[in-house]
Symmetry: C2
């Protein structure tokens, strides 16, 4: 639904917001931050600042209903607010839009107390935006599934069930970190070529996976599947997600029950939850199936989802090695992909996840799976770029990479653009590889 | 460590405790219960009663240290208490032992206020004992892995990695229920013999899996693996676990990322956490590997674990059909197995889970995987008993079963026995199958 909060001609009085790469007035994502002595609390990103929702709730410039919503969203985790559902989310976004727009109702009052309401983002620390009960990772990138399958099963890259069932596995929620946290190179069992026995060692094939994260807003009771027509209303918002993976460990352990220690050591998400409302202009038709592809089963098929279940959002993967950092060289873009490449829509994922009666809870996280396009420079993992490490990529610094090295900084970012609309982004999802020997590595950028 | 709390000659003044099938004085497991108007709180099972730890903490009959422990354990979830670690757990168990033993210090005072301290279990409702962050299910039953593998991969039942890596997958924590909750028959994608396309329907192959559940006591920081020598100290206790599974859905969806909707609809656990202390007399050597089997890699190998990492505990699977219930026929035992059949020890599971640096948190739940022995009457799932449904089992009622039917009640129970020691049990882990059409089925026995 496009409304006046999407009007690109509307300006904000917050310095730096108009034309901001990620957070113009038309975005207003939710996150949890702390600043100085204040404890973690909910906020909204606007330009280079954060709107402090705890301060806003007490400022006396919202009506009672909106102030109550701001107070709920000001908690140290956004679960309770997102559980209120789409109407509450839309109401708070709309109220804040009116305060921060140059010509909005209440903008003068807000502007007068701007030093109280706005905190410079660079002075704040971001936290996980929700308490994540369960984390599920899908496998909806069909090009990725084909490319990855070719590494693990050269004779059978894309399995016969792929175009019928939205494949997914349950992931590890305890090790989900927010942007900026270091990732210690994991150890595990590595297969040894030509030998029956593996070795216990640090992974030699550490990889990233660029994904979209989906945060559940309203859950469902156990035993009551969410019909696909209602699925969209259960989504609280979106973030970027890096599903770090150790390919050698994965290849050895994944049969028959899927990846385990190859992925449970860390997952990184970007700190801001971008709302379905902010993304509305960037909806597009769902992935266009090929002529020979089966139609989705009825419980995964919905007219509205077919016409607007896709999302046009460009995802960029940046890499900065330790040597580049040392010489002041900025990160280099190694791939650019797009969420439109996902074979399954988010609504299909939600409907399939709950088809068994499985209950989702507010704050649960879904990953879409690695987003890859058909071209070599549009894939979402190093395994794909380097064909399993056999064809290293060359970096402008003169270095090359098969897989990640210690000190490598991986940066996911995303940008939704459409003619006539303000572009919006997600903020960064960064993680630096710490050596296997490091204990509790420092968190860079904090 | 065997001490006087294991002395079988010690008696309790609580009526019905001595010789109780599950909960004599020598057990004292922790759980969370509610009774009448009182909200959920921690308790200890003794005979047919529950010791109310909130009442105990305020009764003035414990020293200050033990009273503080009782107060922590009286919370509506046991996470905080279990996080205190083994010394605190042992101290509380010992203090309660002394109060409830006929000749214990403080037993006279406790006996005088027994109506305040003890609640009849039949009048109480049990709740999940911990708030479960992450749930991980292992696959440590080698006979089960072989039998199940033969169903899904007739040419390659036991994969080449099995004897090296403790296979596991991350499970779903939101749908874990406590003893007595109904399980709605799940729907999903079922393969159709001879066809490329599946159908969306209720499962025709609903199964149980009898497992031991392991509750984490003290967690570990992210990035710091738990060495096997320390792993035992991180276990807070044990319960029984039924990993309900839809075999037709599983067979279709499990490649390449493991089971998902085939298992995420429900998992049932018994309500009492049996302590490592209570189980100490029933330790035995770890699973004896065959002559051609590889030794565990060093990070999974420990002298103490080899000599006492196994557990001798008989697990019984009972079944009562609706027809049996209607005619007053008690449940029939359809299989009896033993935790000693597990190929990997619990310490090996903990060490492997964290080898990557994955953090465990207090209250996290591990399942051992289905426990099966080598004989047909010692397997832990119907799939194994009926060879994938092809050879139905006959019940004394004249009925037969390929897989579970609506109205079937599955009852897991367990008993540890050893000459010279009091036998202890776990309490029941029960679940009744509700029809696919039922919405939010009633919970029997509540």
């Amino acid at each position: 639904m496009i409304d006046e909060t999407h009007d690109a001609t509307r300006r904000s009085w917050v310095a730096g917001a108009d034309g901001h790469a990620d957070f113009p007035l038309q975005n207003l994502p939710l996150g949890v931050f702390s600043c100085g002595a204040d404890g973690p609390r909910g906020g909204m990103a606007i330009g280079d600042d954060i709107l402090d929702l705890a301060e806003l709730a007490g400022a006396g410039i919202l009506d009672a209903g909106a102030a109550a919503l701001a107070r709920t969203a000001a908690a140290p985790a956004l679960n309770a607010f997102l559980a209120l559902g789409p109407a509450a989310r839309r109401a708070l976004r709309r109220a804040v839009f009116d305060l921060l727009a140059v010509d909005g109702a209440g903008s003068q009052a807000a502007r007068q107390m701007s030093t109280r309401l706005l905190k410079p983002a660079r002075a704040c620390t971001m936290h996980l935006p929700v308490s994540i009960g369960d984390y599920t990772d899908f496998y909806a990138g069909i090009h990725h599934a084909t490319n990855a399958g070719a590494q693990f099963r050269p004779n059978e890259p894309l399995l016969g069930n792929y175009k019928y069932v939205p494949i997914a596995y349950h992931g590890r929620s305890s090790s989900i970190q927010v942007d900026g946290a270091a990732v210690r190179r994991p150890a595990g069992q590595l297969p040894v070529s030509g030998a029956r026995a593996p070795v216990h060692a640090a992974t030699d094939q550490l990889d990233f996976e660029a994904e979209l994260g989906v945060v559940i807003g309203t859950g469902n009771p156990m035993g009551e599947p969410i019909p696909i027509g209602a699925a969209r209303e259960h989504v609280g918002g979106y973030c970027l997600l890096n599903d770090w993976s150790a390919r050698d460990i994965q290849a050895w352990e994944y049969r028959p029950l899927g990846p385990f220690t190859a992925k449970n050591f860390a997952t990184t998400i970007s700190p801001w939850i971008v709302s379905p409302e902010a993304l509305a202009p960037f909806r597009r038709q769902a992935f266009r199936r090929g002529a020979g592809d089966p139609a989705p089963l009825a419980y995964l098929d919905d007219e509205e989802d077919r016409s607007s279940g896709g999302l046009d959002c460009e995802v960029t993967i940046g890499l900065q090695t330790a040597a580049m950092r040392g010489s002041g060289t900025p990160p280099v873009t190694i791939s650019t992909t797009n969420t439109a490449y996902l074979y399954w829509t988010v609504a299909q994922m939600v409907a399939h996840h709950t088809v068994s009666g499985c209950n989702l809870r507010s704050g649960d996280l879904l990953g879409t799976g690695t987003i890859s396009g058909p071209a070599p420079d549009s894939v979402g993992s190093l395994m794909e770029m380097t064909h399993g490490g056999r064809e290293p990529i060359a970096l402008p610094s003169g270095e090359s990479r098969r897989f990640l090295e210690d000190g490598d900084l991986v940066i996911l970012s995303a940008r939704c653009t459409r003619e006539g609309f303000s572009s919006i982004g997600f903020g960064a999802c960064r993680g630096m590889v710490a050596s296997a020997a490091s204990r509790r590595p420092d968190i860079p950028g904090r």
